[in-house]
Each structure stands twice: as C-alpha cells, then as structure tokens.
Symmetry: C2
Subunit: 436 residues, 2 copies
C-alpha cells in the first residue's frame, strides 16, 4: 500500500504497450480531470462537510490540483491548502548545496502537517513526481536527504499509517513521468497516453465511476474476509528466482480497498487499488526472492533485485543496476532489511493487464504481488493501533524509517497459505486466485 | 514598512508613464533575475551559511523563485522550502466554498512557519500577487477570511515585526500585476516594462548593485540618526486635504534601510526601500488626512480615502471606491482605527520619480510619505522588544490584527517636526527634505 506519493517504483521500459486508440480521447481532458477529481474527493477521501483539506502536489500537477481544489470546495471543504513541491528546486539543492547540509529537513513543516492532521484535516497526495529525478545524483547525498526527510516526517506519516484521518493518493500525468513510461512517443502523445492509462486504472472512463468504485471496494472486502477466516501462519511464494516463505505476524489481519479511519470516515487510501495486504512476521521470513519489476527508490532506479532472507533478515542482496542505493536503503536502520508488508494482487489486475510499466508504486504495486521492506502498519494487527511499540514488536511488527514496496509477482507466480494445522492451501496459481 | 508580501497598495491608473526604451532590455531577462536574486539573498537577507530559508511566493513568480533558490544554495542555505500560493485556488474558494467556512485559516501551517522562524530559518517573501484579485468578491467574506488569516498568522508575523530573524521582501513581475500597472500594453510588453521598473527600483540595473545597496543603506542610516537626535514630540503634515498632527510615541526611535535582527544578522527587510519610519502615539493623532494613491487592501481597491482623527481614533471616514471594505478594515478591532506607523519618503525617491503607479505597497510606500493603520512595531521604541504589551501601550504603541500602509505624501507636502521645547522645525517642503 502506498503511503506517500513520492515513494515511487518502476519496471522495465516497454515490456508492452497499449494498442489501439492510445492518446485518442473522445471526452475533453478537462472533463475527465473533473471526473477524476470527483472520485478522489468523494470516494478516495470521502471528504466531510466542513473538513479542512491538505494537498501535497508536484508543481507539474497543477491542472489536476486545481480541479480537486474546486471539487473539494463544492463538497464543503472549509479550507484547501496545497503544499507544492518544485522538482527544479530539489535538483538545485543537489547541484549547489553544501555537502554538510544534506541531513537537514523541514522539521517545522512536517510538524505543521502533523498538527493539521491532528486538528482534523484530511490529506490528499497527488502522485506524479519524476521517478528518475535523482538518478544522476550522488547516492550518499540522496540517502542522507531521504533519511532526514523520513525522520522529520515520521509523526505526520504515523497519523497516516495509523489511519487517524481519511486520506488518499491519486495520480496525475506529468511530462517527466510520461517520458519515462512512453519513451518512444512525442511528449504530448506520451502525456495523453499516460492520462488515458490513469483514467482507465482509476475507472473514471466508465459510466458512474463512483458506483463502480463502491462495487470494487466491496469485492476487495470479500477477499479480505476470506483470508482473515483462514488465519494462515505463513505464505509460500514460488516462481523462477523466488522461493520464499513469509511467516505472518501473530494476530495479523488482512486489509484492502476501503478503510474506516479513526475519525469515522470511510476512505479509499490508494486510487487505483487492487491489492489485499497484511503484516509479515519480522523474524520469520526465509528463502530467496527476485524482483519482477525495477524499483524507483526516490529518484534512483534499481533493477533485478535478488535477496536472501534468513530468520527475517536480508543476508545477501544484489541488483544489476542501483545496487549501491539499494545497499544504502537496506542499511538505513535495523528494520530496513526486514519486511513490513506482504500483498497479493492477481495477474489479471486491470493494471497488469494494461501491460504498461508505470515506474510508480501506486500503479505497479497494483499490477503484481509484492513485499515491502521497512515499517509495518499497526493496522495490520487486530487492535494493533492500541498496542505500544514493544507489544507490536512481540507480535512480529517491524519498525523502520523506510517503507519500500517491490514487486515479486507475475503470471508465473504460485502462492500457498500454511493453515494453522500445517496443511498447505493453494491460493494463487500462475498469478491468479485459485478460488473466487 | 511592508511586512507581508500580500498587503498591497495602489495608485490611480496611468498618471504617468516610463518614456523611452521601456520593455527594451539589453541583458537577457534570466541574467537580470539572477542579479536580483543575488541582491535579495546577499543584501536583503544576508543569508548565513548553514541557515534554512523559507520562501513564500505566488505561483506566477516561479522563475524568480527558482533563481533565488539556486542563489540561496550557492550562499550556503542548508535547505530552501517554498510555500507557493495559487491565486486560482483562492478564487475557487470565494466561488464555491460554503458561507460558514470563511472564518477558517491554516493555523497548522502558520504555527509551522513560526516554529521554522524560531528554529533559525530566514524568511523571504516574493511580492507579485494580483492586487485586484478579490475585487469582485463579497467584501464580508473577504474581510472574514482576512481576519482569520491575520489571527492564524499572528505568531509568525510577530517574529518578523520584532526582527527575531533576518527577512526580506522582494518583488517579481507577474502577468496580472503588469496588466494593472500597464493596462494599455500587450501582456508581454506590460510584463517587460514592469520587470524593467523592478530592476531599476531595486538598483540591479546598476554596476555592482551590492555596493550600491550598501551606500544607500548608509545614507538612510544617516537620516535616521539625524531624526533620532531631534526627539520630536510630533510631526505636522500639510497639503490640500491633509492637515494632520501625528504625536510620536514616548521613547520612539526612527528606523530605515538595514536592520540588525536579534539573530545578529544585518538584513534589509524591503527591496526596494526609500523610507525612514517610526511609531506614532496611538492616542495623539488629530486632524484630517487624504490619500494620494489608492489602496489595494488584500484584493480590493480603495480610492480617495478621507479620514478625520480625534485623540488618535478615526472618527470619520469615507472613500470614493471600496468604502465598505475600508469600513470593515477599520472595524477589524479596536486598534484598526489608530495609527501604528508614520514614514517619511522624499518626493524625489527614484520610485516616485519613475512616475509608475505600482498598486503595491512595497513600491508605492517608497514613493510617498505614509501612515499605517493598525499594529505598531515594538522595534520603533527604544528597547521596545524587551517591553510587555502593557508597557508598550503606555508608551503609545498601538495593537491590532491589521497593519495597512496608505500614502498621504506627494510633491505638495510640507512636514514639520515639533521639538521637545515646542519649536517648529521644518523637515520637508514641497515633498523634499529641507536639510541634507
């Protein structure tokens, strides 16, 4: 599950392509943006009348940001405040800032955000950052800046991960992102194709997308309930390069689709979302896993990850590209080399089906089963939000400054569940659910 | 003295015009923007190595914001964070938000800003907002939104007005502002002319603007010292429509040009700046005053203001345009109908000399002598920052949520000072200083 719009992830360029009328839209863009904005505000956030809204958005997503702002006011927002980020400013920093400054973060702003959430604001993040922005920068500086930002943002992020408030992440096409996804197209064609893919994945190209989203959330809820009834002790993942046993946390609970936040508002935190997910036990992961899509970790691309786990810890790691950044990421803290999430996504997911490689977690994690290194979500333990860190750790919850999803699933993945009595229950074969 | 980039002020359209090569620039714009950025960072802010910087900027000022960001990193900024405001979002609010929501402000963000200043960040505001943005909106809503914003921003603004940190305001041309200043020109010509006027007023069109600014600040300092030696008890202003006696606060001190902030850094808070200013006594203002330029109060234009003061309070007020907004402004709180600042600017100021009407306090207050309704600056009392509110009030310091400058000076203004012994000392004749 994506928690921050800027934790992106990627995939090999151009495995496939949309065929047919890509880039050809019958409805004007503005109208579709308004439909996306309405799904974001009314279904994703389910914004309450009189509620404040805080938006975080890259500058290049201005058009969608404005549609969402208007829609939020129409839905009764008391005030909409957008914190824009300018990627050129980030590049300026890496180009000109003093070596010793890279451990600095805007603590004052993150504290302000946390206060905003605590005093009732909802949060909408617009995902559209350039996944390769920092690809050419010094990995040591990138890592230090990321760690500083994670530390500064911890309190605000915890309010999100504990679902204290209603929140959602919604995508916007941007030129830089479109260029990466459709490198062979002219910019305006690439941009139009990415928008079409976004409208398709977020179901706003269908009639009455709000009703469609309600039905989809109900279906995910049904899958979650089936899995919760089983009380599996572990999951087994098998495909070429992967033979992984993921023990599940004690009292783990599966989640997916909609969430009822502590403020009583039912929201859908990721648009799109196709996954069901739960908490691995931090000490009970063993075997090997290989990534099926490259990972874009805060601007650097990491390709063909191979890891070995022993008693929950990564004991060996390699990658064909970006290995230094991967090593630094895993070395962030003690929990960065253990799992915090495991998620199942059928290979027939509309996003996998599109055959587009999005280089963005919000999409790619919904195209394939995946695991995440780092912080676990206490909401994946029954009554977990009422437990203190020691109690959570005793159940197997991992703790870290990072939370990075990466994809291990595909059309050749088999997944089994180990039932409490030890019998093996087939869950997925060739990437698809065995039972409806 | 302007404290906030969005408190703008105006003047009648097109009294005069730049003649000659307006809009024709020999140096590329980018290069001039970099010179302006350098003056802003090195002279205006005097940013310390390792200091964090918080920029506030309208979206339309992105180009200058990026130059300043780059320049700040080169000068050793540990981190530059820009809070952009989108005027379209503000208009959306006035168009679509619920009636009951207009008392809401982003308290969490203002608290965050105050924390940022308290923990050592410098502050740079870019002025370029559309002075007439809210001209068509319901004055009651505008007033409620302004009051809410003032209350929420009080703590952060006090850190500014008390000069706890180094800060500056620097202008950027924007299409909406340029349209208002040069209504008869095509947009790109108007924009180029406004940029030229800005480069001229901020002296970045001169050789070595940094040395030029040092000399200018020294000259303002000399004028401040002369006035401080005099210990005037009151000032008398006379021109057609104005016959005003402004009693000065006990232990008042004149300021102008550079300021040494409490963090030890010498900054020039307004670029451009031509004024010397001090604190009126809140109970000792009597007579009548007429504005010589229209006032743009947070988006509404107020023209031909006429007021009468008795014992410091406004007892009669009228305006040819925007009178409702003016009445509401004055009714904000008890201190909103009393003076918080009085400032002297010679009519030969380069900005008055340009004969351009900027509709923006940062310029127009530096083209004419002026008074400000509302909050006084404790730094205008000797050791005033060490005094508590009751002690400040006893010396005559006014307190209010607002601080609104408006222009009463011009080429026909005479100003006298009343010396402690009662003798009258001519200060200005026909808008110019009597003595060097």
């Amino acid at each position: 599950m994506a928690k921050q719009a800027n934790i992106d992830n990627g995939i090999e360029r151009e495995i496939g392509r949309i065929h047919g009328n890509a880039g050809v839209t019958t409805e004007p863009l503005e109208q579709k943006l308004n439909r996306l904005a309405e799904v974001a505000v009314r279904v994703g956030l389910n914004l309450a009348r009189g509620q404040e809204l805080i938006i975080t958005a890259p500058l290049d997503t201005l058009q969608l940001t404005r549609c969402i702002t208007e829609c939020a006011y129409k839905a009764g927002a008391s005030l909409v405040t957008t914190l824009f980020t300018d990627e050129q400013a980030t590049l300026s920093r890496f180009q000109y800032a003093a070596e010793e400054s890279f451990d600095t973060a805007a603590q004052w702003l993150q504290d302000g955000l946390a206060t905003g959430f605590r005093t009732g604001a909802a949060r909408l993040a617009i995902a559209g950052a350039d996944p390769a922005l920092l690809a050419g920068q010094d990995p040591a500086k990138v890592s230090r800046a990321n760690i500083a930002a994670s530390k500064a943002g911890r309190a605000a992020l915890e309010l999100i991960t504990r679902h204290e408030i209603n929140w959602t992440i919604v995508p916007s096409a941007t030129p830089a992102w479109a260029r990466l996804v459709f490198p062979d197209d002219r910019e305006e064609v690439a941009l139009a194709r990415l928008w079409d893919a976004i409208f398709s994945a977020t179901r706003v190209d269908m009639d009455n997308p709000i009703a469609v989203w309600e039905a989809h959330a109900t279906e995910l809820q049904r899958r979650v309930e089936l899995l919760n009834e089983r009380r599996f002790s572990a999951l087994l993942f098998r495909r070429p390069g992967t033979d992984l046993r993921v023990g599940l946390a004690d009292d783990h609970t599966w989640l997916g689709g909609a969430t009822i936040a502590k403020n009583g508002i039912r929201c859908i935190p990721n648009l799109p979302t196709e996954e069901v997910f739960t908490m691995p036990h931090k000490d009970r992961v063993d075997g090997v896993a290989a990534s099926t899509k490259p990972l874009s970790y805060q601007g650097t691309l990491i390709k063909n990850i191979r890891v070995q786990f022993e008693n929950g810890r990564i004991t060996r790691v390699s990658a064909d590209e970006g290995e230094t950044v991967l090593q630094k990421m895993i070395g962030t803290d003690d929990g960065a080399c253990r799992l915090g999430e495991v998620a199942l996504v059928p290979h027939s997911s509309p996003i996998a089906h599109s055959n587009i490689l999005f280089w963005n977690t919000l999409f790619d994690e919904n195209a394939a089963s995946h695991i995440a290194l780092g912080q676990a979500y206490s909401s994946c333990i029954r009554n977990g939000d009422a437990l203190n860190p020691a109690e959570l750790a005793a159940k197997g919850a991992n703790e870290s400054l990072i939370h990075v999803d990466w994809m291990i699933g595909g059309g050749d993945m088999d997944v089994d569940g180990i039932a409490p009595a030890g019998d093996i229950v087939p869950l997925m074969r060739a990437g698809e659910w065995v039972s409806r």
